[in-house]
């Protein structure tokens, strides 16, 4: 079992969600985050004072997949979230020790 975390541009969320559904992957958790990587911010002026807009709004998606589905899921995310411009984001893959469905108490793959 793997956990996939992806930080993407906010306007790409709908496309990524659709692409994952098309790939047969169900379920995700979404959070509003700010961040930057090698993408630099830009300088704005507010009432006479310059400021750097470093932190850029992003969206973070978290989802669980079985090992066999992982490359399909990652491929769907990367293809849907790509614009070719700087700031497209990153995908992180983490190993998962255990997962539990709260309603039924199922564990492991049936709980994904």
């Amino acid at each position: 079992m793997k956990k996939i975390e992806a930080v993407i541009k906010p306007f790409k969320l709908d496309e990524v969600k659709q692409a994952l559904a098309n790939a047969g992957i169900q379920g995700m958790t979404v959070t509003d985050v700010r961040g930057f990587g090698r993408q630099r911010g830009h300088v704005e002026t507010y009432r006479g004072a310059e400021y750097n807009v470093n932190f850029v709004p992003k969206v973070k998606i978290e989802l669980l997949v079985n090992d066999g589905d992982m490359s399909r899921a990652v491929g769907a995310i990367v293809e849907a979230a790509n614009t070719g411009k700087i700031g497209d984001g990153k995908v992180f893959i983490l190993p998962i020790d255990e997962v539990v469905r709260i309603r039924t108490g199922e564990r492991g793959s049936p709980a994904i």
């Binding site: 704005e44 002026t45 507010y46 009432r47 006479g48 004072a49 310059e50 400021y51 750097n52 470093n54």
Partner: protein, 563 residues
Amino acid sequence: MRNKRLALALGVALFGASLGPVALVRADDPPSVPQYFSGANADPAKPVWPDPTGGGAGVWAAPAGDTKGDIPTSLGPTDLYDRVAHNLFSVNMVWTLVTGFLVMFMQAGFMLVETGLARAKNASHTAAMNFLIYPLGCFAFWAYGFAIGWGNWFSGPVPPGWYASLGPGLSVLNSGIGIGAATDAAGNATGAFTYGLLGTKGFFLGSAVGDVSVMALFFFMMVFMDTTATIPTGAMCERWAWRNFVLYGLWVALPYCIFANWVWGGGWLAQAGVNWGLGHGAVDFAGSGVVHAMGGFIGLAGAMVVGPRIGKYVKGKPQAIPGHDVPMVVLGTFILAFGWFGFNPGSTLAGTDLRIAYVVVNTMLCSVTGALGAMATLEMKGLKHDPTMMCNGMLAGLVAITAPCAFVDPWAAALIGFIAGIIVVFSVLFFENAGVDDPVGAISVHGINGLWGVVSVGIFATGQYGAGWNGVVRESYVAAYGADGVRGLLYGDASQLGAQLLDAAVVAVFGFVMAYVWFKFSNLITPIRVSEEVEMEGLDIPEVGAPAYPDFAVHADTRKHAA
């Protein structure tokens, strides 16, 4: 064009002459109009003023108080005159009260502008300051402010004081202190002074001033004072400790009312005309100086004493600290612009003075060119059209027209506003780079443009209005123009500019020094600034115990170094 102007001036002069005994009579010249125009009283043993019910001046509607009935055929000219006169006072009083309501509503405008420009973590505290300044200021004004400001209103600038548009009961405001007490033929003090300094009647609106006209004047002047009182909260927000602010709220009536006495209460600045030949003395129709410059310079002193916000200056370079709600700022600006339609025209204290139409148009034109001037300046500097700066531009225009609104032509009002919009942008940048942290631009909008408004009277006043202002009637001007109205440099009276420059210098110095001393002193009673920890967390919970946005995770403020 000159003939039309002359005819208008003659008309003004004739109208002024019909009230002539009010402006020019000395204490030993009995007025030839009914006593309720001059405030004189035929029988001092049975005074009609103060008049707490409004029955003293003229006659009401049916049933008529003079028991003569209301059948036209039974009424003589004097009876009709009594009824007409009462209507005149009534129109004026209703006008003054309703425009005063609009000015009171400006408190909401100030609150919205300042809170919108503050950060979310300080929204509750900023709003609370703008809220409580109204009760605090009102209380102080009732307790002592009105008395020291207007206690001697009827005695100055020259007796018998201002024309009684609101009714003759204002004649009870006849006690004060000054230099050079005037005496009548019998050697008794008249209450007037060569140099008026303060009033001394009307503390807590006691029964000695229990008159309907006094009440109307009190209310109207009260809401003006509250405008001054709320201006410094903008310059000092986001780090001003609550308890110190409360003390300030009870004190601010002091500098305001002292200076107001000097310009509006018949004091020595108004008398600079009759005493020193400086035009009509200090002329400030609705208070660019008395209200706005005073507020702005108190704010400057306060911002300097309380110091800049943490993270505002990094290695001397100003950092941006954006406000949390720009729509709030715009809404507040519109509310202020709306309220100004009470502020300026209401200062005639007379709905029967039809010059109010000019005042309204001048106010509107100046407000819009102020916004356009700010926008043009931003464009010229290659900056985006920041709505908060354009709002500052509109407010700067409104501040600048407040003094000259009754005295200038519409083209001058538009120009004054455009210049004000330019001034405010440069002023904000100046103070920002000079190390004075003013989150809302109060010092630039009110202080600097208040001075511009005061000075612009001395340049653009046309002389069409204000004949006999502050008791000044100069033969040479009456001969040249038919009447001696308030006249600026461009229309032939350089001495008025002198009076205006004096007015501007005094308000800046007096306001700043009084406030600087007060803030330093009050800091010894209770600290003026919150602790660093409180300031980083936000003042809402620590200072007033009420978070503005408890349901929202406000970004933790980590700003201490360059962003």
